[in-house]
Amino acid sequence: MNSTPNPVSTLVWTFGLMSLFAVGGANSAIPEMHRIAVDVQHWMSDKQFADVFAISQMSPGPNVLIVTLIGYSVAGVAGALAATLAMCGPTAILAYYVSRLLQRSSHSRWPSVIQAALVPLSIGLMAASGLILALTSDQSWMAALITVVAAVLAFATRLNPFWLLLAGGAFGFAGVI
């Protein structure tokens, strides 16, 4: 990319395409967002990407909000809006048509085959998200320990995730990381 295209149209193009490849939801697409935002387009640093992820997890609403924040940091409010709509639009239109199609021809076995085939894929993508984010954020033993403890607590208890995020923030504020 030698010529500098309009950042908003780059956002729309990037996330519009990603929308159709985000198998299993927004968290599956985090490695691709990281690759494009940090490595390809240089929109932000590793550290900023980790911060944006943290903010998106703290704000209420669906996980897709990380895209809003990336868009904002690239091109302000217009970027936030454009990136979010681009990430949601194509797949929403696809969902609309597929659901209408399936209502008409209900008892096909294809949906279950496709779903069984896609679930391991989406788990693999999310695991990759975890790895990439951990490599950017867990730079110290304490940081890694907080991640592990949060993972164990979230897996083993029914604690509201919000408290774990809050506790992480408190440890960070205390300067132990």
Binding site: L17, S28, R35, I55, M58, M87, V119, F155, P161
Partner: protein, 203 residues
């Protein structure tokens, strides 16, 4: 986060399916999805089920699971797909847009404000430390979700699934290959193998 859990992980409360579903209007759709979305710290799915099935009784638990399963196998944010499919089922395209706008509009405004605050104050040392801590915990939550989603595969000894999972993890997480390239290979391959295995099991 829970919104990305497979449909099997959704607890199904026992709601008698006797009452006929009530038809929500456009404003109702918008407000209901806005409420669910704003309640959903770290995942909207739980609140979506509660609102749609338990509170408003717009769908039975089975209908909700079916709709969510559909939205899970389609690409993109699951809960966004759900809002569109759900809204359009009752009120056509306008209903889909109303539900989608409710789901994404208000939280997007909040996220934009947080983004603006971050852009302005992100360099303050205390805030940097807090965000670093939150981010460590958030990664832990993501990992817990991954393990939770893997449990059914481990329990079923689904070797094919686990190999696909590991291959995608290495290709994206370690080799850092582009998503499209990996999926264009992995999706057809995984569907073909799964289909062949199901045929063999079914005779």
């Amino acid at each position: 986060m829970p919104s990305d859990s497979p449909p099997a992980a959704v607890p199904a409360p026992d709601i008698p399916a006797s009452t006929p579903p009530i038809q929500p209007g456009l404003i109702e759709l918008f407000v209901a999805f806005a409420k669910m979305s704003l309640a959903g710290f770290g995942g909207v799915l739980y609140w979506a089920r509660r609102g749609i099935v338990d509170q408003h009784r717009w769908m039975t638990a089975e209908e909700f699971n079916e709709t969510y399963a559909l939205c899970h196998f389609l690409p993109g944010p699951n809960i966004v797909n759900l809002s569109v499919v759900f809204g359009s089922r009752f009120r056509g395209i306008a209903g889909g847009i109303a539900a989608f706008a409710g789901l994404i509009g208000p939280p997007m405004m909040i996220a934009t404000i947080l983004g603006a605050l971050y852009a302005r104050y992100g360099e303050i040392d205390a805030l940097r430390r807090i965000l670093a801590g939150v981010s460590c915990a958030a990664i832990g939550l993501l990992m817990a979700t991954v393990v939770r989603m893997m449990m059914p595969l481990l329990r079923k000894r689904d070797l094919v699934g686990l190999v696909v999972l590991a291959a995608v993890f290495v290709a994206i997480g370690v080799a850092r290959l582009p998503l499209q390239a990996v999926l264009l290979v992995a999706i057809p391959l995984s569907i073909a193998v799964t289909f062949a295995m199901q045929r063999r099991v079914n005779g």
